[in-house]
């Protein structure tokens, strides 16, 4: 025992222990020093805000009006269309506003966000913007440094602004920035009353026309502009007449569903409200035989309910049994409008009564929204082949047999495609019935 304890310790071990001890000591002292420095020079949120304000208003003209409540109005503080939300709103003593706005649609896969400060002047123009937090936009550096004082600057926020830059490495971030700016614009229009808000005015006009009976209904805008039905014509063009251009289509949901068509702009709005294929109200400047009424009645908007989802489709053209159908984006669902060319032939089965049967489906405008749903795009597009052979009678079984499971995670896209196909079938059957 005694011999063992007295055995000399390996000198290499001593020097190794000493080396480690010195290194650890140095690390310890350095970390302590840094902690002290961090305490001394910590930059708090208020300081960060004032720095950002300095960037937004280099002339220092903006100082925060503390009497203004910076918490946003909850009704408008989030909007799925921009994947965004408003975190804070600051009003300046000069009347301008700075909105702390988050926008979505960026990297990765359209799900990433970015956080901006957006300055909007009292006369509804974008003054400047700056990035508050890159969040998950790891390529935010690809956006030019001068973008904050050049993109969007001076533009009116009355309408949504369009993307300022495209390109493989920058588009995701640019989209997120675009959404954040539009989110700020949306809030400024609706909650701060800045700029012109034709959409809100159109809603108000519809509400006045319909009166108390529909006062409790929710308005949802039907997305008309982002899909073309035959290369050049938009869905809106198909529903417009020569003289009157459809500017808004609202879906009013309450105890039942009605569609409100709004034509024209500002003072000269023409409004037609349709419920289940019948006009239930129209503004005074619309007469019964007008082209727009025949147009509306010819292009019925079909409503389908699949479980908790409701899908809408409109047939915009039919030639030689080829129906061009748009599955409409309504409100904030993620896929945008799908346009399909559906070929329908009479069912040759003995008891089919000449009803329609799908013989081919071609997706001409793909409303797929990347990233959300998370399923691969091919899942939804399998529907295009999966529904061939379906009739109105058996489309349910078709959908369940051939599609459910395959379209996992893409239900909303699947529903739009299915609604479009069903609308085509319904239109075909109605045509054959009237021909007979």
């Amino acid at each position: 025992m005694a011999e063992k304890t007295q055995k000399p310790v390996n000198p290499a071990l001593i020097s190794a222990v000493k080396a480690v001890a010195v290194l650890v000591c140095i690390c310890f002292v350095c970390v302590a020093l840094l902690a002290v420095c961090n305490e001394l020079m910590y930059i708090d949120d208020e300081e960060r805000l004032s720095r950002s304000l300095g960037k937004l208003f280099p002339d220092g003209s903006f100082s925060v009006d503390n009497s203004f409540n910076k918490t946003p109005v909850s009704k408008y503080s989030a909007n799925a269309a921009y994947g965004g939300k408003i975190n804070n709103v600051y009003k300046g003593t000069n009347g301008d506003y700075v909105l702390d706005s988050t926008g979505g649609g960026g990297y990765p896969q359209g799900g990433g966000k970015i956080n901006l400060y957006v300055a909007i002047s009292a006369d509804a123009k974008i003054v400047s913007w700056t990035i508050k937090d890159k969040m998950d936009q790891s390529y935010a550096d690809r956006v030019p440094a001068s973008a904050g004082t050049s993109w969007y600057v001076g533009k009116d926020i009355s309408n949504d602004l369009t993307l300022e830059m495209t390109g493989a490495t920058v588009q995701g971030t640019a989209t997120a920035i675009n959404n954040a700016v539009n989110m700020a614009g949306y809030y400024a229009r609706n909650a701060l009353g800045l700029g012109e808000n034709p959409e809100a005015e159109a809603q108000k006009a519809v509400g006045e026309l319909l009166g108390d009976e529909y006062a409790s209904y929710d308005y949802t805008k039907v997305n008309l502009s982002d899909a073309t039905v035959d290369g050049t014509k938009h869905v809106a063009d198909a529903l417009s007449s020569q003289t009157d251009v459809l500017s808004y289509l609202f879906l009013l949901t309450g105890s039942d569903n009605v569609f409100a068509y709004v034509y024209g702009v500002k003072e000269t709005l023409k409004i037609v409200v349709v419920k289940e294929g019948e006009v239930i109200a129209k503004s005074d400047n619309v007469q019964d035989g007008d082209e727009i009424i025949t147009n509306i009645l010819a292009n019925t908007i079909y409503t389908f309910t699949y479980g908790s989802y409701r899908a809408y489709a409109v047939v915009t053209n039919s030639e030689d049994n080829v129906y061009t159908v748009a599955g409409l984006k309504v409100g904030s669902i993620n896929p945008t409008t799908y346009v399909l060319k559906v070929t329908i032939e009479p069912d040759t089965a003995p008891d089919a009564d000449g009803k329609g049967k799908v013989s081919a489906i071609e997706i001409t405008v793909d409303g797929w929204a990347d990233g959300d749903p998370t399923a691969p795009k091919s899942n939804a597009n399998k529907l295009a082949t999966g529904l061939v052979g379906a009739t109105l009678e058996n489309i349910d079984t078709f959908y369940n047999d051939k599609v459910t499971g395959k379209a996992t995670g893409a239900t909303q896209s699947a529903n739009l495609i299915r609604a479009a196909v069903e609308a085509a079938l319904t239109a075909f059957d109605a045509n054959t019935a009237s021909a007979n």
Partner: protein
Amino acid sequence: MKLQRFKEIALDGTVRQNPTFRLVLGTCPTLALTTAALDCLGMGAAVIFVLVFSNLIISLLRNVIPDKVRIPCFIVIIATFVTIVSMFIEAFAYSLYESLGMYLALIVVNCIILGRAESFASHNPVLDSVCDGLFMGIGFTLSLTLMGIVREVLGKGMLFGVTLWNFKIEFFAKPAGAFLTYALFIAIFNVCYNAVERKLKHKAAHKAAEAERSAESAVAATGEEA
């Protein structure tokens, strides 16, 4: 410290071992930040701070730090001062902080600093090491700013952020321009340096010969006297 030694260190840092043009060290900030002369000065100041303090501490601890772990120890000390300087700049000079960006944190891997720690501060007395850090830093700052002025004037038509004229050759503000400017600067510096060196050597040789001659004559004189 003797005046002669101080002169040596000062001359080494700024000219003879000029980190940018002679040693070609710390190339990353040299190429990246020389689009604006003001950023160069800011970067230079940060590097001087880190160099002086890391040299100071490393020189103080030179007998304590075991040889085996010297590099990790140096790295920790340098990283600490880089963090402090970047905290300081973020707190008090935010616009500089933004324009230096990631290159501020990259001072930690700047070859000049670890190079001086390893080759000078770890076996020289404290005062010498601080002076070395100071003059190496000044040499770095001067070269950086010189390149910055050239690139800013040519590439942006500006000097220290003030617009001089509308004429600009954007090439010089781009990465390719950085390489070209740096290459030309090294070449020019080398030509001048070698010319001066040759002259000095010539002079020294002349002086030595003269001294020899006078010594000889002195010897001769003493010989005569004797």
